[in-house]
Point group: D3
Chain length 337, copies 6
Amino acid sequence: MYDLLTFGEILLRFSPTGDKRVMDADNFACHVGGAELNVAAGVSQLGGSCGIISKIPAHALGAMVRRKVRAYGISDEYLRPDSRNRARMGLYYYEKGSSPRKPEVIYDRHNSSYSRISLNELPVRLWKNARVFHTSGINPALGERMKKITTEMIRRFHEQGVLVSFDVNFRENLWEERDARLYAETILPMVDIFFCTEETARLTFGKKGDLKKMMKSFADEYDISYVCSSRRTVHSTIDHSFTSCLFEKSSGRFYEEKPYEHIAVVDRIGSGDAFVSGVLYGLIQYSDDPGMAVKYGNAMEVMKNTMGGDLCKVLPGEVRDLIAEHEEDGYISEMNR
Amino acid sequence: MYDLLTFGEILLRFSPTGDKRVMDADNFACHVGGAELNVAAGVSQLGGSCGIISKIPAHALGAMVRRKVRAYGISDEYLRPDSRNRARMGLYYYEKGSSPRKPEVIYDRHNSSYSRISLNELPVRLWKNARVFHTSGINPALGERMKKITTEMIRRFHEQGVLVSFDVNFRENLWEERDARLYAETILPMVDIFFCTEETARLTFGKKGDLKKMMKSFADEYDISYVCSSRRTVHSTIDHSFTSCLFEKSSGRFYEEKPYEHIAVVDRIGSGDAFVSGVLYGLIQYSDDPGMAVKYGNAMEVMKNTMGGDLCKVLPGEVRDLIAEHEEDGYISEMNR
Amino acid sequence: MYDLLTFGEILLRFSPTGDKRVMDADNFACHVGGAELNVAAGVSQLGGSCGIISKIPAHALGAMVRRKVRAYGISDEYLRPDSRNRARMGLYYYEKGSSPRKPEVIYDRHNSSYSRISLNELPVRLWKNARVFHTSGINPALGERMKKITTEMIRRFHEQGVLVSFDVNFRENLWEERDARLYAETILPMVDIFFCTEETARLTFGKKGDLKKMMKSFADEYDISYVCSSRRTVHSTIDHSFTSCLFEKSSGRFYEEKPYEHIAVVDRIGSGDAFVSGVLYGLIQYSDDPGMAVKYGNAMEVMKNTMGGDLCKVLPGEVRDLIAEHEEDGYISEMNR
Amino acid sequence: MYDLLTFGEILLRFSPTGDKRVMDADNFACHVGGAELNVAAGVSQLGGSCGIISKIPAHALGAMVRRKVRAYGISDEYLRPDSRNRARMGLYYYEKGSSPRKPEVIYDRHNSSYSRISLNELPVRLWKNARVFHTSGINPALGERMKKITTEMIRRFHEQGVLVSFDVNFRENLWEERDARLYAETILPMVDIFFCTEETARLTFGKKGDLKKMMKSFADEYDISYVCSSRRTVHSTIDHSFTSCLFEKSSGRFYEEKPYEHIAVVDRIGSGDAFVSGVLYGLIQYSDDPGMAVKYGNAMEVMKNTMGGDLCKVLPGEVRDLIAEHEEDGYISEMNR
Amino acid sequence: MYDLLTFGEILLRFSPTGDKRVMDADNFACHVGGAELNVAAGVSQLGGSCGIISKIPAHALGAMVRRKVRAYGISDEYLRPDSRNRARMGLYYYEKGSSPRKPEVIYDRHNSSYSRISLNELPVRLWKNARVFHTSGINPALGERMKKITTEMIRRFHEQGVLVSFDVNFRENLWEERDARLYAETILPMVDIFFCTEETARLTFGKKGDLKKMMKSFADEYDISYVCSSRRTVHSTIDHSFTSCLFEKSSGRFYEEKPYEHIAVVDRIGSGDAFVSGVLYGLIQYSDDPGMAVKYGNAMEVMKNTMGGDLCKVLPGEVRDLIAEHEEDGYISEMNR
Amino acid sequence: MYDLLTFGEILLRFSPTGDKRVMDADNFACHVGGAELNVAAGVSQLGGSCGIISKIPAHALGAMVRRKVRAYGISDEYLRPDSRNRARMGLYYYEKGSSPRKPEVIYDRHNSSYSRISLNELPVRLWKNARVFHTSGINPALGERMKKITTEMIRRFHEQGVLVSFDVNFRENLWEERDARLYAETILPMVDIFFCTEETARLTFGKKGDLKKMMKSFADEYDISYVCSSRRTVHSTIDHSFTSCLFEKSSGRFYEEKPYEHIAVVDRIGSGDAFVSGVLYGLIQYSDDPGMAVKYGNAMEVMKNTMGGDLCKVLPGEVRDLIAEHEEDGYISEMNR
């Protein structure tokens, strides 16, 4: 019985080392990531038991991914091997920006092993083997086949009483806003925890009014227990601020805290997923205090930004210390020693 | 008017840096290669004017490739950009071996921009714009579409009086021996310079007898001006020997020289193509002395083995010095200074 | 229920990067290793379920170790955290040699977290939770406290019917030959699988006669099911040969195969432990064919030598291919592609 | 017929890698640069056809430079080889600063191959083979010989109707302000496009009044078609702002745009030359809209600052996007994906 | 006769390279440092003759340290070798922070060779062989044995008329505030130059009033010639400001200068010791102008922050230039070339 | 009073990192070397007190060199700073070979700071401040000015009773054999220890007969106390053998030992100088046993080959162990631990 199971594609990220651009690079750092893996890694680091449902090549690149998944304490029980000759990892090339030059992503993820996953290769016990199931809008955006699989998974988990978490994660290079909205409307009635930014609420879902009004309207319309919205302010490629808000339907309360200001960003990839992981961990661990979900969510987002790679690497104590210091008004030492 | 035009796919190679294995790597050196690019690069380095006919993404990875192509003095006049959203570089992962552990290649080249190339996007003047046209058996092995394009290219160049060079380059992971043979039989009548190893002659073409007999039979059967065959002896992953033989049909003569023994191999990828480049350069530059083709071919193969990357990086004088020293019996200094 | 549990210290290895010496280094590669961890990693890579019994700091260095342990698929269920302020990883500095300059090890392992491990912090279920328990003579060599713990562990596993495997692993910088012999004599009656080199048999145990005679005498004297002895021939720092011999008491048979010659050594650290892992895997998986233990043992030793780090990184299929090719007399391709 | 030919020395730059100082370095990144090469690279990247007139050693370092020149799409037709035994590359050592510690340059460029260039080794057709010729005040500052060659080149291009572009580029470590002024006065009557900072106008040329008045006075005094002046504001070593102004004599108009604020500077070397390249590209490509020259000039300066190396590496589309976003008031995404 | 002798432990620092965290690192930069070595290195770089009294292993790691000590021009005359089998370097692991994630130090310094140093292995001539002796409160915090040795050293130097400098350097992870105060009270009567931050004065010594009042009270109470206090303001992990104040008892004057604002911090470790070194150099070299001590102290602190490693690497002229520019109100060039 | 003073140029070596060629490199390792510095470093590492007479820039590159000189324990008392604006380090680019491709050196050493050294800037006490003075034939080969200075130095040391050591070190790229011979004849009467290879004896000096006969004839003709000749056998770029012979005139005896076979060469630069250093150390330390000079000379040559850089990095005990093992016939462990 896992605290959390997530479903999504695992990608390799290739980033030029040093201060090289892709067009001038001859050396690439390789990171393992993917929105739903990032979420599982966050919850696992904080102490939850997690697994990922995905598919990777059976060859050496798949072995590399499996080693990483395990290193983060995530179970690879449902990580299926693809033994076909054409098995491939989806990948993306990432070039760090430097204001005003923006970070750049080039995707190369079509026809990956993941895109061949089938519900038939997953065991029946799976659907009740978790407290929470999480996935994101990237899956249905990958095509009709993945759309069906995603919906079916959500349905099966939901029917077994597993809490369903869904992050819209709208990407305009993958599909149209209208398609994203239509799809979301089909699964939101089965969703218990919903992540959606203000911008997506407004542009994709056509919501009106201020953020809190929009959040509440999602909860009311689809009977969603928790609606969560984060806001990143990008001062420059190396200087962000961050905060978020959580609405609990049962109490009708909004949970917030003061923003983290001037985060010294090392690598912003995966920070949104780290936020989700913190919220889910908070909801799982402190089910009677949703404010903890906000605190963990924000702290995880912040932590992820300060390190390289898609996956947040933390010790639970560090996150607790960061939360405590964020609330502290007095003297804070500048170094831990 | 180019001395040489080649046609083939350009690939990115990702190799783990240091002594890491792919399954444990988090950093990859990225090389640009591909059999026909390697050949063009060799001839260009030696002083011939060369161009490559191929297709690459219009995005930053394509720009990276274009920069490399130009750096080697190869014209990118016929290097077509692919502006589709799904444009991608074909690529392969390469893991260096260490005896008895063998080098390992994982291909990921399906659906590349190259596979979308069309004869229609090439200018009409192309077909008479070269002295020699070179391609290899990798192209027809990539599928029916590439098979047709390759044949049509060979036909057009041949009709315009351009010398056609063809390297069998049989790869059993791409197609069947029987298919390779059937294909070769359709184009060999148009081929002027033919590269084929003893093993391929025997296994793929079902030739009998000793090497020279087989070479001569190709020339006789298909009226091929030059038949060329090389032999690499692998003592260990870091210790090879190499030699080759060239048959000139017009004179009925075989050209050979003593093998290079105990080459200290740094990276063996591309060494076969470097051999082809040396032979083609020799035939172009010393058309009345085919022995020079063998000498240049062998020397280029040897040089390539002693350096990293798919492409041979040499100054023409170095190759001439190596040829001279290989024939020298007396004292040879151990260092150039 | 694990296929294998091992008990031993996990060490950090610091090696200068590039061709630097320790005295001139300012950058170190950090590997995780330790004889018994190496053995568990080998069996786990081959497909056995494994765990390690050890103790590491609760701080970030311990987290680094735990991540590595998990990456290899080894359970960290019995990897105890040391939360003391003085918690430390044992470590060693390793300088690669270049003939005739020898590799050099500087140990710094006293007072480590491992040395504080206690049987009280291990659960009672542990002692019957494995098919095989493995440890080595490094443990009792670390002092009286570790000597007692090691003996008690062996006793408990033995009493629960778990097979006990013991590698003498004599290190003259840790203790005297006489002490090693006296200790071994106390535990050998409980040992089922015994690893001992010819040199150690002769010098430490004072055995006489040829290798096979000595091996048999161990089996007879202490009623040991399997006695195993390996022989590494060091031609130079980068060129080793290797073979081994296994004696099965029940059948009275010796199992051997022809040596692996001229292994191109990249990093010889951990190769002896990789050998042990192959033998144990073979005995576990092919219990009715001890010849497989020798084949797996030799192949794992060879593989480990060809890569960096203390731990062998392999896919099971690779090892099977190496075993098959070692027995092959005909043509073997020089590359996998 | 080139859009642009430039004349100037190509230098190697050696910079300590990582955060090392020169005095503590044992590893250096090597970049190829030089004011006039930088300008040609910028125009070439944007789409203009360019060549460089210079001289480099015939040995391997010259080959390295030639490869880089070609990679940027710059013709090496007029890049002369120096085969003397004493052939050498001019070079400089560069140490990145960190506020308030300033960047530091140590030149080692005397007696380079470039300093031996002669007009006699250049073909007669050269002088009419371009639309624009660009050089800078670094050349005449290198000594009497280079002074004469530079003047003669400007004269020949000017006589053939090629537009002459000149960047004062005053360097006080090379010559006196008075000498720079006297020299400039001899060639300015032949100059069509003139680059001069406010500071140089004031201190070196003794101009009075505000910037625009000074710019106009250059145009009037020497009949210069375009006078261009840029202003970099250095908040810290990693935070610059930048803007510029262009005066068109024929229309009497000044062209400007709002400054780029808080550029996150990675490597400021070559940013001034990138600015010149943008202006020249704009004047060549949009001859009836000088405002485009300012926009391209500013955008290229900004881009160069955000990446390592002397040469700006960009795709034309990126620069157009940056220009568009700089003029945009509304929402701008923080990442391209 | 040295200008300065210091006494303290030399440590190795291991920091993950790149933007890795310790828990994810497999490569570490290794720096040599230690508060009192840092001070000696600063004074030596500025031109003073210095030596360090310490103890290091006789093996290769000790040789590495000795080479570094010599490289900085520090005498290793009193650097004792430890030939025991258990000889070890004290070390610490350092993880760079990124706001709001703080830098992290993990110490592993117990039972080091340094901790075995004895007064008996030092020559008698030592105690009068310097103008100034410096040590810090880290030594007595290491235990009773080191407390006695430190006190005895101070006593001997003091008796021989050598000026004694003492930096409180309070570290709460090493001892209690009360112990630190009690110890300080025993040696302060022998101290001539005293370094103490405002915070330590207030919290550890229980002083009251503003900073200057507290500084003066130390001087009065213990008859200390110079009391020195610095203040670092941490805006973020990469942005500090710094200033300091010196009280001269004989004149009753306080010396200060305007703060250095917005130092772009690369590595803040050792910056406090660099400050001490600047002050000591100033007092030694400009004995009649204590204002120079403040200027050198501040400038050295600032310089250290802008470079990697524990030890400040500077040329004396650079520090003089920085001091001059800090006092300059007019135009300052942004680069030295 | 130094055991050894040497006179010669200090050079920077730039070598491409990894397996890159110079023409493809963008990163260079930087080593400090120079024949006479290499010799001083060897003797200093073995325990002799050494100094170097040379001249380097006063700027940061000179500081880098000075730090290295000191790190090896060599006094920089006679290392003069060059404060001219044009001060420069002599340098060379080195490309590692891989059989049969040979290592390649490109010199760039003209007009260096060293070439401006003058006897007037050296103190008078210098000429009697050493037991041995060593220099090589590289100095007179650098031009007439250096020829005169070298001769005068030899004369002054010789007149003060300092033993003069001279290594012919003939480099055909620097001068003619005839010039080298004529020069040597003028200084050999003042030389006490003479290093000359068999090849140079034969080709440059026109000696006849076998090696020993030639060695003796030098000793007889010029009254030289010790004549020393080494022989390197290059099996491949990574496999050398080495031996040497020393003739003592007073006893008429030749000293030799069996060759070191199959040295695994990492970097052969400086190995000849390491040999000289071992011989000089042996003659200084074991003045009554010239056989020790041969043993130390051979061992140092061997050690240098096994590590990167121009300078041999050893602990004295390692060299003694190597000498002992070279004479050992029995079992030798393959690792020190």
